[in-house]
Symmetry: C2
Subunit: 190 residues, 2 copies
DNA sequence: CAGGGATCGTACGGATTCAAACGAGCGCCG
DNA sequence: CGGCGCTCGTTTGAATCCGTACGATCCCTG
């Protein structure tokens, strides 16, 4: 949206290209702006607060979730952090290697792994979180308190809608032709 | 936010953890919901429409940008798509290998590379985009037209704010202690 | 017209990311 | 109590992704 083309020019180009195709414009703008804002925010925060601690956004979110809940099973951490469990394994490996996170066994269920911050991780979060929240405030600065709250409400409605109805929607969309397996992913043992 | 813990429980846990630390709650909720919504939307669309074409979100956005502008220099494509130029090189390599995208030289400036869709890529986008927009509509379904427009406006304000003032903010934040180089990144030739 | 600085796309290194496969462990049911 | 199905975390393969370094090219100035 920045730099080379103005918003108006982009709108015009889209109209030129799609003039005869019926499009939901508000939905398109809303969705594309969600993604654009998310990217911009992530890059701003990674480039400022998280940079000093050499943490990625994902690594910080994982630390944050574990910090808030004191101790948590990995599958719940992955869900709250919005990443797959396979990704979490790698992130935890990195954070554990840096001495910020510990893995523990569950008392009765041998399959489960519990995560907890180390003392060093605890210290880091106590330092880092206020600075992180200060950047969240900076990001939301152009909005009033009520606008921020309204924004959060609308987004929550979208998230809950997708969590409630997304599966059914995807199933019905793919019902006619089950998709081919992804190009990537582990291959069956031959 | 789904599944294991309710929103209320999460709020309580945050309060318990941060009760004595002054926090901007609306900003925190707005930012975290932006990211959460972006992830949920991306996963929904990748799992439905893009899955059949075996495209990632990023690959689709790159195709979309090039499609809209007919022909475009790579640096502008990267900027519009919200990815780094290095990432774009890899994505273009993949798309070119699949015969969806072509690379051309600039007429007068030997450094520039222009991107353009092939006929096959054009056909794919004509098929794919209506389905993509239908999912955007599905995503925005819980919001009224006016709410969607308001959402887009608020997000745009955030993006423009970050583009305008983000650099200065990051500079002033890192002024005291310039950050160490990232752990990753190409190593200097020895 | 020589050369130094700026800009462009690419190569590279390390970390992340997902989907699928896998193995270990749990629990129900006969 | 034995086995079958389920759940969990990890592994694996391919693709992204970013930041930095680099070589090529352009442009400006002396």
């Amino acid at each position: 949206m920045t730099g080379h083309h103005t918003l108006g020019e982009t709108e015009q180009a889209i109209q030129r290209r799609l003039g005869d195709v019926p499009i939901r414009h508000e939905a398109m703008m809303a969705v594309s702006n969600i993604y654009r804002a998310a990217t911009a925010i992530r890059q701003h925060v990674e480039g400022s607060v998280l940079r000093r601690a050499d943490l990625t956004w994902t690594a910080f979110v994982v630390l944050w979730v574990v910090w808030i809940w004191e101790e948590m099973e990995t599958r719940h951490v992955a869900e709250e952090a919005g990443i797959s469990k396979g990704t979490l394994t790698g992130v935890v490996r990195t954070l554990e290697g840096r001495g910020l996170l510990e893995r523990h066994q569950h008392a009765t269920d041998g399959r489960l792994v519990l995560l907890r911050l180390t003392a060093e991780g605890e210290t880091l979060m106590c330092d880092l979180f206020p600075a992180f929240n200060a950047e969240e405030s900076f990001v939301a600065a152009p909005l009033s308190t009520e606008e921020s709250a309204s924004l959060a409400r609308s987004l929550r409605a979208i998230v809950e809608h997708l969590e409630a109805d997304g599966d059914d929607r995807r199933q019905s969309l793919l019902a006619g032709s089950p998709p081919p397996p992804r190009r990537s992913g582990r291959r069956p043992r031959l």
